[in-house]
Symmetry: C2
Subunit: 251 residues, 2 copies
Amino acid sequence: MIGLFDSGIGGLTVVRELLRQAPDASFVYLGDTARTPYGNKSPETVIRYALEDAEFLLKHGATSIVIACNSASAVATEALRRAHLSIPIFEVITPAVEAVCRLNVGRVGVIGTRATIASRAYESRLRERGIEVIAKACPLFVPLVEEGWLTDVETKRIVKHYLSSIRQAQVDAMILGCTHYPLLSEIIQRFMGKQVRLIDSGAMVVGELLRHVSQDGARSQRFFLTDLSARSEEIAAQWLARPVHFEKADI
Amino acid sequence: MIGLFDSGIGGLTVVRELLRQAPDASFVYLGDTARTPYGNKSPETVIRYALEDAEFLLKHGATSIVIACNSASAVATEALRRAHLSIPIFEVITPAVEAVCRLNVGRVGVIGTRATIASRAYESRLRERGIEVIAKACPLFVPLVEEGWLTDVETKRIVKHYLSSIRQAQVDAMILGCTHYPLLSEIIQRFMGKQVRLIDSGAMVVGELLRHVSQDGARSQRFFLTDLSARSEEIAAQWLARPVHFEKADI
């Protein structure tokens, strides 16, 4: 059974991709909506939360863990692997970096939360591979997505505000380094121009996951949140294009 | 000693007003930055956090509590009073409602987080007093303030988006029902027109507080956060126009 966690509902974009590639996958999802977001908190706090999230998933039958959150992938992967040596732990950074390397491009944009960008997790790995990086934290993208302003004129202006420097640098590709951002991909693609390849970090990890994890037992798909709200069910149903029932997780 | 808590650093606008009216006041401030924001979380979760915050302040010598957060004031005041019967507990809703009533006006706007507006805490009290209310949740205002976009063109557009219906209703006054919002008061005032009186809920509670609480002992002013970051000290220093040293609170 695959366990996935995110700071909130953003990681459902990873579940969406998982269901697209493997509709019968068994998984348990945990969104830490009571403490969301992680992206503007310190590494120390994000590590503590990630350890608790993984603990919860393991207690609920997970035999592998997907960190479906860039901020946690960037700062907590090492601590999670140290704490759970025998459990395969997948993070979203490496598969996205590999996808960029396969494109054989010279200059790449990376966008993410404050925590992800400050960690330089993408930047340092891409530079090691000889790729030039323009990185930019876009802290307002997550609240815009959660407000449901996916195509609004205000969102377009904020996209322009954050991404102008990356567009000016004429990058060949750009990593959407936050699981919320695919929901803005249409508006981002239009601003960046269609010649720029957008890499969805959440989608990339699913390929990696399915290559390594075999499915066993009867199909079971459970969704947990640490804070329940009608709004979360509404947004989740819209993103996944099916009804989603959330159970309460007490962490 | 006065204890004040907020979901994060927004409550520092209340501290700013306290220091303006009583520069030598002794207080201990707690910002729950590790779990911020509260305004998009359920009443159940906000109540749990508020009880823990108050507990922390009492352990650090507080003899009265100010809920320097509208979301917590709206949903957790009753639970806090029940848990601490002998401690004076001040919330930010009632003083703002009283301030509006003193203005003797007929129609009032109320803006706040999703949690505050959904609670109808302002709305029901103002309606009881015969005042017509137009309420609106403005979930993007807090992230905009925390991003420091206090006068940007993007912020102006979002102000217009949220507040157009209240402006069209030709209100006489508007309650800034979130401790972050005073930082947007210039841009909000300009959009609403100078004939609209803006009521800062955080400032109103300070008058109420100082009427009831007498200062004792040597001056002590401590600031705690549950998640520390250089950015918080920077923003706090800017808001309070003095350096602020934050200590780590483990809750």
